[in-house]
Amino acid sequence: MIELFTFKINKWLVAYYAALLVWLGTTAMHIPDGYLSPLTSLVMFLLVLPFWMIGVRKIRETMNARSVPLIALLAAFSFVIMMFNIPLPGGTSGHAIGATLAAIVLGPEVAVIAVSIALIIQAFFFGDGGILAIGANCFNMAVVVPYVGYAVYQAFSKGTPINSPRRLTGAALGGWLGVSTGAFLAGIEFGIQPLLFKAADGSPLYAPFPLSVSVPAMLIPHMLVASVVEGLLTALVVAYLQRSNSNILEGAAIPAQALRLRGLWVALAVLIVASPFGLLAPGTAWGEWSTGQLSAMGLQAIPTGMRQLSGLWGAPLSGYNLPVLGNTNLGYVISAVTGIVIVGLVVWLFTLLLTVRPGAQNQEHQR
Amino acid sequence: MEHIIHNETNNKAAPNRVPSPPVIQPVFEVKQVSFAYDGKQLALENIDMVVQAGECLAILGANGCGKSTLLKLLDGLYFPISGSVTAFGQPLTEAALRNDEANFAFRRRVGLVFQDTDVQLFSPSVLDEVAFAPLQLGIPREEVTRRVESALEMLRIEKLRDRAPHRLSGGEKRRVALASVLTLNPDVWLLDEPTTGLDPRSQSWLVEFILQQRQVGKTVITATHDLVIAEQVATKIVVFNEDHRIEAAGQPQEILKNHDLLHRCNLSHYHNEVNAVHVDPVLAK
């Protein structure tokens, strides 16, 4: 029956996906309850927890009681910003998260708390995004976006005056890369569901699409729309603040980005370690899956059109369904690790390339 | 209240000790105080002022003259860059308020109602807001509940108890703001532009409230540009000019008659209102 998926339907599916991608890209990546297994939700909570702790510690150290209303108002700001519909060149429009902006103003540690609170309120009081999925949503949007966005912004703005146009470039690229990375991780979270959690008859219990579909489906539209919106809004607001309220930008101009970057690396390391944990923990689901050998079949049965579509992303990761490996489990680990390493490398290269440049002419601004 | 009783006993005790004059401690003594935001622009310059217990002082001045800043200095939220503020005979400094006990003792005696009710009302519901101050200041829970009930009743806002602040009208917000300080039962009220956003009926109600507090011996300091309310409640007036200094101080009658002074301090166009609005003699008494 695998032969049923002939070339004829591929065009149809490709067209469908093209439309779906554009539409998906305009929505925020709030994962509702039901898409992720309870185990994944738990792992995501565990991943966010240290960042919440770092954020709270940072708040205690630097701002004390004063930070209570500050965080509240910035979380409220973040919530309101998520409602703004921002037009893109070309006629589409989308919503920003505002997490990069929060990181630029507050520093990433505190931005984690502000954006998390906005997301928690959305989940608990407005029903946007799942309650059990709060861990995943906070990780993708409130942890990854601020840290990645801030790292890029810092790389660009280090040593530059407040009104430097390089800060705008940094803000735009930071927002873009931050949301793209978050979307990529959301794609991975979706994609590991059918690998890990299946009913006895092989039906996926949660999000049904494999990594080869879910990652490009999340990543590509976000790279084209939502990430662009985030980058655009961040840069525009930074430009506005440069003109009218530059003291707000000075607040986070305090250095110590070494520590902040380390936070990012810790996050990636934790993710790499946690991925196999997510694989090995569910005893029963795991057994059912391997006896049925359905997953391996499933991965091969993806229509060629889908594979072509996912080729953009799938090419470097095609290892996971190489028959040579023979073990989809191992293949998954390799592909997940590869993906994370690639994102890590991109971020690292970005910062490396950009931190070399700030020259002597700007040093006077560092006081 | 406690403080006023204390002063009265001092008064009675004093005549027995013949050589020393009666010690009536002023509530606030402000000496040569200057203040600047971010160390740049002066918001107050060389302010000298004494507020006695039971006084009802109106600080008159145009917008931006520094009267709000002065109230924040009196409430120990800002501290002068030069000069000194003394409250109840004790220096009011950052160091003094760092001590929890001293802080709580001071905050229980002085209550500030902010001009912007959105700043004053930060809690999710009216009940939480009104209970916030006494709870923070370590008053036992049963006592807090009792005070909350009587404050809600006194300001006739029992029905608003579970409402969220953003569901309230301007007048209701002002009542809740007053209730949130009333539960402290402070000796000294600091009111910043209390008539902002109030309709005429709420304004006369507010005047009534201030007179009531005056009657039970509270000290009330009102910062306002509204000459009507100043005339109705004040026992003493201090006028700020636009250079952030005190231009004049004295009895309400003489100050409010001095058109030159009011004009100089950019308050004159409010003066017409005094003549236009008929002041209820009962309330103004």
């Binding site: 029956m1 049923l4 339907i9 469908y16 309850d33 039901g34 009681a65 209570v68 209303p69 500050l70 108002l73 910035l74 409220a76 700001f77 919530f79 409602m83 703004f84 519909n85 037009p87 893109l88 060149p89 429009s93 609170i117 989940a123 608990f124 009081f125 407005f126 029903g127 309650i131 059990l132 059918p194 008859d201 092989g202 996926p204 219990l205 949660y206 049904p208 699409f209 655009l232 809004l233 525009l236 607001v237 506005y240 707000i248 359905l294 049965a301 889908m306 | 500030l112 700043v119 009302l121 930060f122 999710p124 519901s125 009940l127 709870l135 923070q136 370590g138 829970r141 969220a164 953003h166």
Partner: protein
């Protein structure tokens, strides 16, 4: 100035404005609606917030763990029954979930019907067949998502949000965090109204055609102003908290006491949730 506006003349830029304005007013209306329902008499309204939070969480977990479609369907029906017992209009409760669902989860799940490998259930077109596993998997996702949303709706609609906040203490959420959540919620409204006013005043001043670039600059200016307002406001709010004795730690009134009735319902609900988890294995 106002006369120069042509209301019939709609263009792309005002579409963006309208979209945002619509989103803002919808959020405000939703909250108002929830407030109205939570003030009505009903089963869930009469229970302690902590009971409701624990119940909803337990059922969310049961839905999440279940490998059995019937169990999830049963929990959905239970949520529906509880909604009916709590003065929530059934039509609203069902429509709110099932009308919105096809646009998000429905669109996403649709290809899974066909591409999930498994035995053919229904040959739609030559070369396009719904597989059994695809159908089951889609049902799982749809039911799980709709039931989870219904459960959170049940909580949101029957509980004033400030009592949800105080109820969160049962999850060991620290008091300072609850204070921040409450203040955030309170100031969301202030900022929403401010943003709304800024958009409206902007709208009233727009005379001719605005290109997307101008739209973006306007949004950036509004966002920047809001950000500055948020930061300035936070320092004023801090003064106001300080003035009333706030030193970093929070004391709360904790007016709620669990009644025997609350305990009884909690036991019933948690029991049902556990049963669902066991049966759904």
């Amino acid at each position: 100035m106002d006369k120069s506006i042509n209301p019939g003349h709609s263009h792309r830029s005002s579409h963006v404005l309208e979209h945002t304005l619509h989103g803002i007013s919808e959020t405000l209306e939703r909250a108002l609606f929830a407030e109205e329902i939570s003030a009505k008499p009903g089963l869930f309204q009469s229970l302690d917030a902590r009971v409701k939070i624990l119940t909803v969480l337990a059922f969310l977990l049961a839905v999440s763990f279940s490998k059995n479609l019937e169990i999830i369907a049963a929990i959905y029906l239970l949520a529906l029954a509880l909604a009916l017992a709590s003065s929530i209009p059934a039509g609203f409760f069902v429509k709110r979930v099932w009308l919105a669902l096809p646009f998000f989860t429905g669109l996403i799940i649709l290809p899974a019907l066909f591409v999930t490998p498994g035995p053919v259930l229904l040959q739609v077109l030559p070369g396009l067949a719904i597989t059994r596993t695809g159908a089951i998997s889609s049902l799982f996702l749809l039911l799980r998502v709709s039931t989870s949303i219904s459960l959170s709706l049940l909580l949101i609609l029957t509980t004033p949000w400030n009592t949800v906040l105080s109820g969160l203490t049962v999850l060991r959420v620290p008091d300072v965090f609850i204070l921040i959540l409450g203040m955030t919620y309170r100031y969301i409204y202030l900022l929403l109204h401010t943003a709304n006013d800024m958009f409206l005043s902007r709208k009233s001043r727009v005379v001719g055609w605005l290109d997307a670039g101008e739209d973006r600059r306007m949004l950036a200016a509004i966002s920047g102003t809001l950000l500055a307002k948020s930061i300035n406001m936070s320092s004023e709010v801090y003064l106001s908290m300080q003035s009333r004795g706030f030193r970093g730690s929070v004391v709360t009134l904790k007016p709620f006491k669990m009644q025997p009735r609350d305990w009884a319902w909690l036991a019933v609900f948690i029991g049902l949730a556990i049963l669902a988890v066991v049966l759904g294995r």
